[in-house]
Amino acid sequence: MSSIPFRSFVPLVSLVVGALSAASALAQAPAAPPPSWQQGRSAEQANSPLHPFAPHMTGRASKDLPVDKLKLPPGFKVEVWAEGVPEARSLALGDKGTVFVSNRIAKSVYAVVDKGGTREVKTLLKGLNTPNGVVFSKGTLYVAERDRITRYDGIEGSLDNAPAAKVVIDGLDPQNQAGHFWKFLALGPDGKLYYNVGAPGNIVMPSYFQAAISRVDPKTGIAEEYVQGVRNSVGFDWHPQTRQLWFTEHGRDWLGDDSPSDELNVAKTKGQHFGYPYCHQGDTLDPEFGKGRDCKAYTPPVLKLGAHVAPLGMRFYTGKMFPAEYRNNIFIARHGSWNRSTKQGYDIYRVALNENGKVIKSGPFLTGFLTDEKADPPMWGRPVDVLQMKDGSLLFSDDYNGILYRISYAKK
């Protein structure tokens, strides 16, 4: 049930409330503990109208949406590739072309099968707990749920009758944590599965393996923490040449419209600390947790992606369809801000690197979802993950509408 996210802190609240409720209900009781997403808000922000957005779980038909308003550089085009995929989030590509699609709320994993011009959406797995992470490798689909990572072998041969889950590792959510409990999953060049465990709130002290990216060997089920001080990362990939782990990270909320910036990070060695909850964006101490700390103790981001833009899935582009200058660029799905009075993000963002892996330029690549930065809601779609297809085209998911889009390039 969706009440689970809060179970961990509910007993504490109940105790306090039990004591309070002996007094008159209308006495000057202290304000109630706010919902999780309001945690960390200052007194001045108490009447802020800002709030998170929820996806249209039943999806919306692309014919009712301004898809023709999406903009790309010359030569590129975008089209709807599949729709009716509830809350489409993370993407994985099978050897036979099946696209596996995850979500946070729908409890299912979907498989989209290309039938040459049309696509069929199959409900592949059911009854899962926040199945946000999907990886395909050597015939096997791996799924990261809230509390475990599982494998489904030979999946593309049994799309209508998926095999039973085999557990790679479980016990990943022993505290039934609030906050960022969904997991991204990716397969590293070392053959290990990498996953995030987010911070249990907006700005709180994480406990042991929280606010970290960890990895597990699928052969042995043995896990270890890889890097820490990561508030929440819902997208990572490895540079095709340096093989270093690059990842997106969401900064904290309620520190103002322009602070802190969300981040693009590189992990070079095991054990690196990226700052949370002490230091944000590499140079800004947290007003509460930063006392007595120095940002120099933590690894700064290689690129600031903008405040509250919510960078999610990211991949290096290694295909041949796009022009040569796009090779080994990073495409990032920016889900878009809610915790900002003037909204930004809601795009596919491009980051170009030089031969040494240094960022040389960055900017929006696909725009048009954001229609009115002051409206509520300000957008009609929200990108979540990107996926390079075999022909070099790029798919991306939109959880707000349950749609997958395809970006392709043709020389003029």
């Binding site: 689970i4 996210p5 509910v10 997403w37 929820a54 779980m57 039943t58």
Partner: protein
Amino acid sequence: MNSICRAGAAALAAALCFSGAGEALAADPQLCAVCHGPEGNSIIPANPSLAAQPEQSISIQLFQFREGNRKDAQMTPMAANLSNKEMNELAAYFSKQKAAAPSHKTSPENVVAGAKLAQQFNCAQCHGPVLRGQQHIPRLAGQQYEYLLAQLRKFKAQKRADLDGNMTSAAQPLSDRDIEILVDYAAGLSPQ
């Protein structure tokens, strides 16, 4: 259609099926109106009004029933066979209906007390200053008193499906008396 009639189980829905109206489409809003009232203005205290609810708040609840996240003896089978498209159509239809004036009258002492609690306990933060809802968040203003009371008690007991956990957490600090005051207040507010 047969399966919906059979599974529907609700006496009222069954009556509709047997009367021959069962040939209607699964997504026929008239079938919903049997329990949710004409144009979605409920006249049954335990059933919510759908009229003038935010469109997304209706489609999401239908989804929650179909997927088994939210369970109800009458609604679960009604939603079981609906497609996403049908859910969207029903949501669009009921969101556009005019809400009737509330049948509930807030007791005078709770007009101010309820508004104060709605601020104190963050109700107005998401449901809006006069609790008319927005996007995926339902309208509480003018909703059926009994329905609201039952839902808020279930949220407090952590037994009500919740899209993102916010309502479950918001209900935890409420005392039984707070719940009664808040519901008395919300049910008497003007819905539009």
